[in-house]
Amino acid sequence: MVAYANVSDIGSPPPRKRLVARIWSARLDYLFLVPGLIIFGAFIVWPLIASIYYSTLDWSGFSRNATYVGLANFRALLQDSYFLSALWRSFVFTLMTVPLQMLLGLVFAIVLNNKLLKFSTLFRALIFLPVVAPVAVIGIVWVLLLSPFNGPINGYLLDGHLVQRAIDFLGTPNLVMWSLAGIFVWKWTGITMIYWLAALQTVPDELYEAAKLDGIRMRQVVVHIVLPIIAPFAAVIALISAIWALNVFPLIQATTEGGPFFSSEVMEVFIFRNAFAPPSGQFPRLGYASAAGVLFGVAIMFLTILQALAVRRARARRGENGND
């Protein structure tokens, strides 16, 4: 059992050694990293770099005859109204969904956080259910539900005489983004609710007890005690939800494919169309699509840094005046 002889040659080295010696003594650790690094390198780091290289090519993908065109793709993109509106639409979609999702998630979380409430676990599971359903599949179910031809939702609306004619929720250019935003919020509110519930766990139970003993109404407890405590989490939750909302490809491709008339074409649908599903008779434009991807990535990174700064400021403020 006890083998003292082995003690010296394993475990962490003393802190101050030369770098080479430290690397050598960590050789086994590097071995542990190998499988993870292969995946990380091949499918994340390499695509990150390669995209930038591809974005300078005029390249149809079929033949290997890619030609270097410098920044021509970027110049063309900035004049491509489809690209500009797709980029714009991606961010507008985020602005449409995130606030609603956060508010709805917060309301559910506050109500369901009450441990005395009957069936609260069941309700929580039901609200969360859409989150686990595959996006593309549930998108197709929604296409049927919202169909203007015998779709059940239009059926109810017509039967209740709420509308005169069936509404083509996903086929009307002015309406389609709102319908998609609605489906999206329904799909992901469960996750936001879980984030808020996690934040609510940081509110000590004694606070509720004390408030109860003082005879303070629940609404006042929420507004004056609970919300200030969990407010700093809002920035993090908004960040995660926003990034989530930018990955809207499966929902939109499965439901509208960017239509009607490109009115729901978000960034990733634009990239997919140019790279993999060009209109018949045209070649794929992999270089062009890569350039779009790079610009999109840069835009998101910019947004992320902006929000991360907001998170840090919120945290700092929480540190300054703890009990507000």
Partner: protein
């Protein structure tokens, strides 16, 4: 926090005693939840209705219940093949990601390895990169490796999407494990590999289950990647892609579509219901971090 209301306790609330109020909340919630899950209930109900009935009977109870839709979807629409493709990719990617993320997270979370902060920084930097940015090089890389049209390629690329988050989850967990445990096993002459396998891994069981569950969800949900990889090879489609193309080919076969969707959704819902805690803890971890 003591204001005027302090003096009103014990207050009279008339009809709305706390108990009744909670009951009322429950009722309202029940109604909301019923509407919330209606799309899925409708999907399941429709999957048992023959197409002729589907358009005439908007109710949830089929008048002439039938398994015909399932039979048609399972065999004629190849949902059977898509189901096993998805299962293969999901199980394979779960094994690969969990193993490599646990190893990497262990080293990054516990070991004093030179260069680890550099690697951590690089990983955090890549967390928010959208899939649209990486899809073209990923597909090109798989094609060059000869995996561009194979389930193995899809499996490997699926691992890439989540490995960073899972590694950070493991690293965060292993950082909290008390140092005495390594000391003790070193004293006992247990080597680092055995320490990892028999001391650290068993401790990380909750994280392992979380990662397994979240990766299954990810693989089952994935769409862009399998769509691109199977464009030229329909036999490799996963459920999401298969049902998407089913919609393109047989748009009027609602019974087939809803039963195929039910086949795709029910397994992951069952997984969720049995392992709810891990889904929720895993997701909640993101906020605390």
């Amino acid at each position: 926090m003591t204001d005027a209301t302090h003096f009103r306790a014990p207050r009279r609330e008339g009809f709305f005693t706390p108990r009744r109020r909670r009951f009322l909340t429950s009722v309202v919630l029940a109604v909301i939840c019923a509407i919330w899950v209606y799309p899925m209930v409708w999907m399941i109900a429709a999957s048992f209705k023959p197409n002729s009935e589907l358009f005439r009977n908007p109710g949830l109870i089929p008048i002439h219940p039938t398994f015909g839709n399932y039979v048609r979807a399972w065999t004629e629409a190849h949902i059977q093949r898509y189901f096993f493709n998805t299962l293969f990719v999901a199980v394979g990617s779960v094994i690969i990601t969990t193993t490599s993320a646990a190893l990497m997270g262990y080293v990054l979370g516990r070991r004093p390895m030179p260069g680890k902060w550099l690697l951590m920084g690089l990983m955090v930097f890549t967390v928010f990169i959208p899939q649209g940015y990486t899809i073209i090089p990923v597909f090109e890389l798989l094609s060059r490796l000869g995996l561009g049209q194979s389930l193995w390629g899809l499996m490997l690329a699926t691992c890439g999407q989540s490995i960073v988050v899972f590694t950070l989850l493991f690293a965060g967990y292993f950082t909290q494990v008390p140092n005495e445990l390594d000391e003790a096993s070193r004293m006992d002459g247990v080597g680092p590999v055995k320490t990892f396998l028999f001391v650290m891994l068993p401790l990380a069981k909750p994280i392992i289950v979380t990662v397994v569950v979240l990766q299954s969800l990810q693989a089952w949900n994935d769409f862009l990647l399998p769509l691109v990889i199977t464009l030229a090879n329909p036999a490799l489609r996963t459920l999401s892609v298969g049902i998407y193309s089913f919609k393109g080919e047989n748009f009027v076969d609602w019974g087939g579509m809803t039963s195929a969707s039910t086949i795709a959704i029910v397994p992951i819902i069952l997984l969720f219901l049995f392992l709810q805690r891990y889904f929720i803890d895993g997701l909640a971890g993101a906020v605390k971090g």
